[in-house]
């Protein structure tokens, strides 16, 4: 009876929500005067950035990106904190087992290519699709592959935490430099360059490279922590 009531209530709620959402028209260009046109225009005319998504993520809403980077940092630290005790109490036994030689030699071949692709994606974040988050995630998959293929492949936790911290410090530092030079936090204080060149968009490219390093280090650390959780 109780279950039936719950299902009934959920069904009524779901019906009304569906009705409302089907009329909402998400993605339909209905409003002419939203913020979007301004973004599209200023990205090219003022920031000289080819990828509008990047200019919105890193410049117009760069403060959000700083927040999201912090969220990732917090989540990874929390994960490490929760799994911390178990790692120190028990012996040094890994949940992994050795892979076949096909996987091992294949991953040796693929690893540099994956890293190169990741670096390419975040360096060209302001020119082509992709950016710091995507590039960082690609690099982390490379490390995941190596960790799966080689039982004793290890990543230095100290190095990861250096990269993570320095990337974060540079991000906030660039923001503060803009604050001192141009007047507002995260403002672009470098010359914008020529559209479609690698060195264009001022601080946008630099920030995205920092984000790439940070995300790569954090996700790699996360994978390493989870895979080497001893039970």
């Amino acid at each position: 009876m109780k279950k039936f009531l719950v299902i009934l209530i959920l069904a009524v709620l779901g019906f009304h929500l569906f009705e409302a959402f089907s009329g909402l028209g998400l993605g339909v260009t209905r409003f002419e005067k939203g913020v979007k046109d301004y973004y599209l225009e200023k990205t090219v005319s003022e920031l000289h950035v080819a990828n509008t998504v990047t200019s919105i993520v890193v410049n117009f809403r760069g403060f959000d990106t700083l927040g999201e980077v912090t969220v990732l940092f917090l989540a990874v630290s929390a994960m490490g904190g929760i799994l911390y005790k178990r790692r120190h109490q028990t012996g040094d036994r890994s949940v992994l087992f050795s892979s076949s030689s096909i996987v091992r030699s294949g991953s040796k071949l693929l690893f540099p290519a994956i890293i190169l692709l990741g670096v390419y994606v975040f360096i060209h974040g302001h020119l082509s699709p992709g950016g710091g988050f995507q590039g960082g995630a690609i690099i982390a998959t490379g490390f995941l592959l190596m960790l799966i293929a080689y039982e004793n492949f290890s990543v230095s936790h100290n190095t990861l935490s250096y990269i993570e911290s320095f990337a974060g410090i540079f991000f906030v530092g660039i923001g503060l430099l803009g604050f001192m030079n141009g007047g507002t936090f995260l403002q672009n204080f470098l010359p914008a360059g020529v559209l479609n060149n690698l060195f264009s968009g001022g601080v946008i490219g630099i920030i995205y490279v920092m984000v790439g390093f940070k995300v790569a280090a954090e996700l790699t650390g996360l994978i390493y922590t989870i895979l080497h959780e001893k039970d």
Partner: protein
């Protein structure tokens, strides 16, 4: 000027990234730096609040883009008051927990201080931001720090509490995102002032759906009634000072977000009555649950939820007096509840079960802690010479001005319940015999904890004997919240509005 509002966010984030590096040089710095940062935030926000109360709201743009396009921070008498309150409390929580896990375990201690600092920075961000998606990001920062701090002792119970909180928080985040998506799809902007100025063009059905998603999402942080299942567990399982930070800082940020939505953004008819109804239910359910609790921290948690219910009722009255009373309640709760948490967790420090029954006769063994706890208890139930009296009085008079007799009667009845359960504890502390088998082994808190509690106790007495010290600031803040047009103008006068 010592700086601008954005430094309230940028400096703690910078420090959070610096701490892991600097901890490799000298471990003590991991404790010292958060304190310096919080002290700087306190000085900065207090100076800015002083500046703002004479010169009007500071609206700061970020990344050089004007209000509707870029993100802006809004440091007004209201948000400045809350930011100052939060950074002051944050500093005291840091002071109280300075020796936390010192010389015991370095790695957890480092994480504790990072999480604590970002919890406070996130809560301040929720308050001072003027952009709805940016607020969502700060809710995430606060939330994740809070889950991590809840799970801090990595035991079975704390894992359960944290998991519960995490699940509810994750649901809340997705609800918030849906609400933001609805607003953006209808109005094409994420800036709060711009949304407020265009809200009248939105279809009422979507408006109500978005508001419901918002309130469900933020209600989890604000501990309103059906959504607060995580709170008692989280308060009980988290380390003692963290409970104080939850009650004093995180919940305040949640309540602020709800109030900003209802007062400024959405002009939905009946929203104020909804606030009164939900607040009363929260108040009554929480206080009657508090009456039945055996564990001290659970009792304090329920009492905290109840107080937030009362705050929401006071906001729901909707007049200047009501808002003033609600802000006064928030201030008093932020001063009194941490004192109760600090002294309470010192009283039951050596106990495994943290039961109220174990507190028999502690008044003779730990007179100062017992005195602090009873001061807090007297103040929060609203006995005359202490701080809580004035805020309850102003709630009652605000309700009386509007002729809401039912509210007055209910608040008085609930106050009696409150007196019963707080005095039950005070009675055990002072008038029961100490017995070696059943009572807690006394634990002497360190000097830094003593100083933190002493500051709070002094604040309670000052507000109690001389309420005029704070009422000016509160009146300014209340005026600021009520004046929606001015909020919109402040933000949008910088750039030209999109649609006017």
């Amino acid at each position: 000027m010592v700086g601008s509002p954005v430094l309230l966010i940028a400096i703690p984030l910078l420090a959070a990234f610096v701490i892991p590096l600097i901890g490799m040089i000298w471990k003590e710095l991991v404790r010292i730096i958060p304190g310096l940062v919080l002290a700087y935030m306190l000085i900065l926000s207090a100076t800015l609040l002083y500046y703002v109360s004479y010169n009007g709201t500071i609206v700061e743009t970020i990344a050089g883009w004007q209000a509707p396009w870029g993100i802006n921070l809004d440091f007004s008498p209201l948000t400045g008051f809350l930011a100052t309150l939060m950074s002051a409390l944050g500093f005291l929580v840091w002071l109280f927990s300075y020796r936390f896990k010192r010389n015991v375990d370095f790695e957890p201690a480092k994480k504790y201080f990072i999480f604590l600092m970002l919890l406070i920075a996130g809560a301040i961000g929720i308050v001072i931001t003027g952009d709805i998606f940016n607020q969502f990001v700060f809710i995430e920062i606060t939330g994740i720090s809070a889950y991590a701090l809840t799970a801090f002792y990595t035991g079975r119970n704390s894992a359960e509490a944290s998991f519960k909180y995490l699940m509810m928080g994750a649901m809340a985040s997705s609800f918030l995102l849906v609400a933001i998506a609805i607003l953006y799809s209808q109005l094409g902007t994420l800036n709060m002032a711009d949304i407020a100025s265009k809200m009248h063009t939105m279809n009422p059905t979507y408006k109500i759906i978005a508001l419901i998603f918002f309130i469900t999402g933020i209600g989890i942080e604000a501990e309103i009634f059906p959504l607060n299942g995580w709170a008692p567990d989280a308060y009980t399982e988290a380390p003692g000072p963290v409970g104080a930070a939850f009650a004093g800082i995180v919940v305040k940020a949640g309540v602020y977000a709800i109030i900003r939505m209802i007062f400024t953004l959405f002009d939905v008819p009946g929203a104020y009555d909804f606030l009164i109804a939900i607040g009363l239910i929260t108040l009554i359910v929480a206080e009657t649950s508090a009456l039945r609790q055996e564990k001290l921290k659970r009792m304090l948690a329920y009492s905290s939820i109840g107080q937030m219910g009362l705050v929401i009722v006071a906001f729901g009255i909707g007049t200047h007096e009501g808002v003033f009373a609600a802000l006064f309640l928030m201030l008093n709760h932020a001063v009194i509840k941490p004192l109760l948490f600090f002294s309470g967790s010192s009283l039951v420090f050596n106990s495994k079960k943290k039961q109220i029954a174990e507190m028999n006769g502690l008044g003779k063994r730990m007179p100062l802690m017992a005195a602090f706890f009873s001061l807090g208890a007297f103040a929060i139930v609203g006995l005359p010479p202490f701080a809580g009296f004035w805020s309850k009085l102003s709630v009652l008079s605000a309700a009386a001005n509007e002729g809401l007799l039912l509210i007055i009667v209910l608040i008085l009845i609930v106050s009696v319940i409150e007196i019963v359960y707080y005095f039950r504890v005070v009675n055990r502390i002072f008038f029961q015999e100490y017995s070696k088998e059943q009572s807690v082994v006394p634990h002497r808190p360190r000097i830094n904890a003593m100083v933190a509690m002493f500051v709070l106790a002094i604040a309670i007495l000052i507000i109690g004997f001389y309420p005029d010290a704070v009422t000016g600031i509160l009146h300014n803040a209340a005026k600021d919240l009520m004046n929606t047009d001015q909020y919109i103008n402040n933000v949008l006068q910088l750039g030209q509005s999109l649609t006017r």
